[in-house]
């Protein structure tokens, strides 16, 4: 059931994108999320689309896999599209059927917003698909280093993040296991009225909570037993290295940003 999930999942491959420094990838995503709001006409959206698909192509993630994983999201995108199309009342009237009126501006806005949404999802999934969770955390920790001066607990945040990312697969496995055990005891997770289905979640959630708390405690003990004392003076096993490719990527995004400024209306 959860086998198809692609969020937060790393797909190993040997590609340019995989080899980028996590810091540059994080910066690219952050910038991308900002500049996507610069797009406001067809030219700019097409440019962003080309860039997104160019990056996806370079990552060598099988397209069929992406499609399978994004299917549920496509519904969400379509839903936003429909909302926009029906509820924006600007521009020329295109179509009318009883109380339903569709305006030109609505269609335009709908398409733009769902495209923006779609590209955002693609790019952010690209980050997690091509970067190991541990690399993302390392990158974030280094990028946020300056904030340490303001007594912001950067190391602790990074640790929390890496622990939670580390335990996502474990939790999924555990969910699958307990689900199967309860199905074998006659629970029906998929069918029946909504009320029964909500009730069916209880035999799943309680064991999950219990085991998560137990695991957290065991982890804390194991860390203390090995002398963990926080980030102060802690050295790193994995060293990040900034390469020419990272600079080129950032440069490429800078060009895109300039083009966006020039093309936007």
């Amino acid at each position: 059931m959860m086998e198809k999930m692609i969020f937060g999942r790393y797909v190993p491959a040997d590609s340019v994108i995989h080899k980028l420094d996590p810091r540059s990838k994080l910066m690219i995503i952050f910038l991308f999320v900002c500049i996507i709001f610069l797009a406001n006409n067809w030219e700019t959206y097409v440019l962003i689309g080309i860039y997104t698909f160019f990056m996806l192509g370079m990552s060598r993630i099988p397209f069929r896999f992406l499609y399978g994983g994004l299917k549920p999201v496509i519904w969400l995108v379509l839903f936003t599209l429909v909302l926009q199309v029906f509820f924006t009342k600007q521009g020329n009237l295109l179509y009318e059927l009883g109380p339903i009126k569709i305006y030109e501006e609505g269609v335009r806005q709908g398409i733009f917003i769902s495209m923006r949404f779609f590209f955002l999802i693609l790019m952010t999934s690209l980050l997690t698909l091509t970067t190991t969770p541990i690399a993302i955390t390392d990158g974030l920790e280094t990028l946020l280093n300056p904030v340490k001066k303001l007594h912001f607990p950067v190391h602790e945040m990074a640790l929390m993040m890496s622990i939670s990312l580390r335990f996502i697969p474990t939790l999924m496995q555990e969910t699958d296991k307990i689900m199967k055990a309860q199905i074998a005891r006659g629970v029906d997770f998929a069918g029946g009225p909504i009320k029964d289905r909500i009730k069916a979640v209880i035999p799943l959630l309680i064991p999950l909570f219990v085991s998560s708390f137990k695991r957290a405690e065991e982890l804390a003990i194991a860390m203390e037993a090995r002398g963990y004392r926080g980030g102060e003076g802690r050295t790193k096993y994995r060293q990040l290295s900034w390469k020419t490719a990272d600079t080129i990527q950032l440069f490429l995004l800078a060009i895109i940003t300039i083009l966006l400024f020039l093309l936007r209306s």
Binding site: E3, P62, A181, I183, R185, V187, D188, P203
Partner: protein, 289 residues
Amino acid sequence: MDISLSHVEYRYQANTPFESLAIQDVSIDIPAGTYMAIIGHTGSGKSTVLQHLNALLQPTEGTVLIGSHEIKAKQKNKNLKNIRQKVGIVFQFPEHQLFEETVEKDIIFGPMNFGVSETEAKKRARHALSQVGMQEEILNKSPFDLSGGQMRRVAIAGVLAMEPDVIVLDEPTAGLDPRGRKEIMDMFYALHKERKLSTILVTHSMEDAAKYADQIVIMQNGMVAKKGTPEEIFSSPKELIQMGLDVPEVVRFQLKMEERMGRKMSKIYLTIEQLTSAVTELIVSGERV
């Protein structure tokens, strides 16, 4: 109820980059009333086979026949609930599935899902609890206040209370102390004998397989490497050792002894009692000669 797997193949996460073949061309027949042990290394596909016995997994190739219900690859299946009542599974570390406020509620959860009335389910709960060797007093306790071993027993009682025709055990004694192990294994064996309950035991323990099973299936790399009665399986111990599997202590003892004495005994003995009497006989007759 008979269960039979024919040419079953299962791939995890088919059609993704993570696809992996778990089992392949697995054919096993489990006639009603059999005690079968499935043995193999971690990752040999034992647990995947087990999940097919109750339609928790649908084969990606081949057919599983459970009673009169046929489960085929690439076909929608309905009325699986029926199967699930007939085939009870005790998963590894079954105590992880406990969730109710009281032991009683947890045990009756299974039966009530299958439409048993509350009074009947409560009756069954008491019976199941005594089967697993526990006192009725704990019925109103929270399962989370029990010790690990007690939780295990309560979880097993929860499956027994469903009164299945077939019971599937996935290393039911992992992590228990030797006494608890023996008690639980003996309890399942007694159930098998009394109620003609088909029992399928997935285990690492050659000792248990030799002691209890009528049929043994050895899995290796997702395929059935060998199947037969314990006598057949353990009659060629060298082969098992080559597969990287263990041989029961008794058999190992016999092999060492034969090596030292430079003579072979007529057959392989599977329990300490059998071997002891055979050796005694050997010694006694040796003295006479």
